[in-house]
Symmetry: C2
Subunit: 311 residues, 2 copies
């Protein structure tokens, strides 16, 4: 089924303890659509400047990403410059140059408007709703957000949330949005705001999926070599939504497999800088790592005769 993503395309300059890269391909829509493209086609809505390298456009097109919604405008492409220290869970932004992204007004080509699966990347919640206004009858809408919008545009974000099926946030954002330090309590509060399903991302620890009273805990893959966490969250969402859109179902078992596939895509994304690892990734590697995730967390039922203590 058709999958639409709206988000950023950026040129990232990243330093980690393991190296640095200047002006490499980045942005939420880029990571998302590359990860999702393993499962099927993706329609992308984003904006870039005149300086955006043609090779990146060719790469996305080669991944089966529909670029009719990619707007090329006079000016420079969005730049993000960041640093990670040894605690790779925490990005330190050194510079943000919005450039053409500053007045991005997502406009959906006619062929995008019948999309059934929609992912609203982390942009102004007003713009997220502007996208939804242009989609005729979405079957499943997921959105991402961040601390900045939760604090500065809370009312607008709440309006968006009333129109989405699923929200992706990290644990700090869940606490902030749900107003409770306990993630389980915060999650339950968030589930009263609109989304029926919530994913709380916990970086190197994995993710929690909340739906109704049920919780699914997905472990992250413990990696010995982790080079650049940029794009992990969007690769996660891309793997998740790509799998969902491919199958066209959202029952509990599907959501769980989708979360694990999100973790698989994220685990590959962080193994090298930018999209380097996703570029060389194969379906066979995805399948093999999914099997490793199953092995990673598998344990048997208890024996019947277990307890020998006083009870």
């Amino acid at each position: 089924m058709s999958l639409l993503v709206v988000g950023s395309i950026a040129l990232d300059s990243v330093q980690t303890p393991f190296g640095r890269r200047e002006e490499v391909l980045g942005g939420s829509a880029t990571y998302f659509s590359t990860a999702a493209s393993f499962f099927g086609p993706v329609k992308l809505v984003a904006t870039v400047g005149e300086d955006f390298p043609e090779e990146h456009v060719a790469f996305l097109a080669g991944r089966g990403v529909d670029l009719e919604g990619l707007e090329r405008r006079p000016g420079r492409t969005f730049r993000w410059k960041g640093r990670y220290d040894l605690d790779l869970n925490q990005a330190h932004t050194l510079a943000t140059e919005l450039n053409v992204f500053a007045d991005f007004r997502p406009h959906l080509p006619e062929s995008y408007r019948t999309s059934e699966y929609v992912f609203l990347g982390n942009i102004d919640p007003d713009l997220q709703r502007l996208v939804l206004d242009q989609v005729h009858a979405p079957r499943f809408v997921a959105c991402d957000t961040m601390n900045f919008w939760i604090a500065s545009k809370r009312e607008s974000l709440l309006k968006t949330l009333r129109r989405v099926d699923m929200l992706f946030v990290n644990d700090a954002e869940a606490r902030q949005l749900g107003g409770d330090h306990n993630v389980v309590k915060a999650a339950r509060r968030i589930l009263t705001l609109g989304p029926r399903t919530l994913v709380v991302k916990r970086g190197e620890y994995g993710a929690l999926l909340f739906s109704g009273e049920r919780i699914f805990a997905a472990s992250a893959y413990p990696l010995a070599s982790l080079f650049d966490p940029t794009g992990a969250g969007d690769s996660f969402a891309g793997g998740f939504m790509g799998y969902l859109a491919r199958g066209g179902r959202e029952d509990a078992g599907v959501l769980r497999r989708a979360i694990v596939l999100g973790g698989v895509l994220a685990s590959f994304a962080v193994e090298r800088f930018s999209l380097e690892r996703l570029k060389s990734l194969t379906s066979e590697e995805i399948r093999a790592r999914y099997a490793e995730f199953r092995e990673l967390v598998y344990f048997d039922d208890l024996e019947t005769a277990l307890f020998g203590g006083p009870g």
Copy 2:
């Protein structure tokens, strides 16, 4: 099979955002032996002062804990005073009064010396070896330690590690001991120091079990009400070792089930202050939560026909 524990018995004064308790039962050996007692008898080696309340002795005896190795000495019992803020992963020590624990020299009664399973709680690594010197032919030795010993008595700790089968540490301690910020790399280093198996505890996120090249990731149970994390690690170790000693085997499947049972016991321990929750706990509740842990992390294999992207 017989299980021996050496560690502390304390009177704890604890403040958390959810309340406070003064001079309640605590200590590593106490939590460990209570948790382990659900699976079978435990032989305890520890010391208390003349002021130690008789009701606590009666409680432990009632749990089937062998107290022949509990030494009562002139002076006051060990006191610990601590505070947890909203981030319950981090204990802030306000005061430590070692009292009779200051010159604790563990002495094993004759009947303890044939113990097959041994847990060396977090005490001076010199004393941990002193205990091992008194056990004739232990089948499986596990030990706990902390940042203080890793930094100040590293050589002694390394000597102890060469004699243990398994080490329990938290992630910060694993990084410190293994000398690498990456937990997987640190774990591999630690596995060259003696233990064949390593458990890295990650608080509310769960635990990782490293054995050779294999990793098992156990999720913690996401709790909506978590009152007092004191004793979580020792309850975890107690559930783990109690189950191991009961079955008398240490293959990969057993170790995984033991880790999950450790998580089950820890998840109950933190639901109330001190040992309150463990006191009312039943075997049926342990079994039911184990089943909930399985449900929490369960996901299916992938379908055969999965990928629709360009590969």
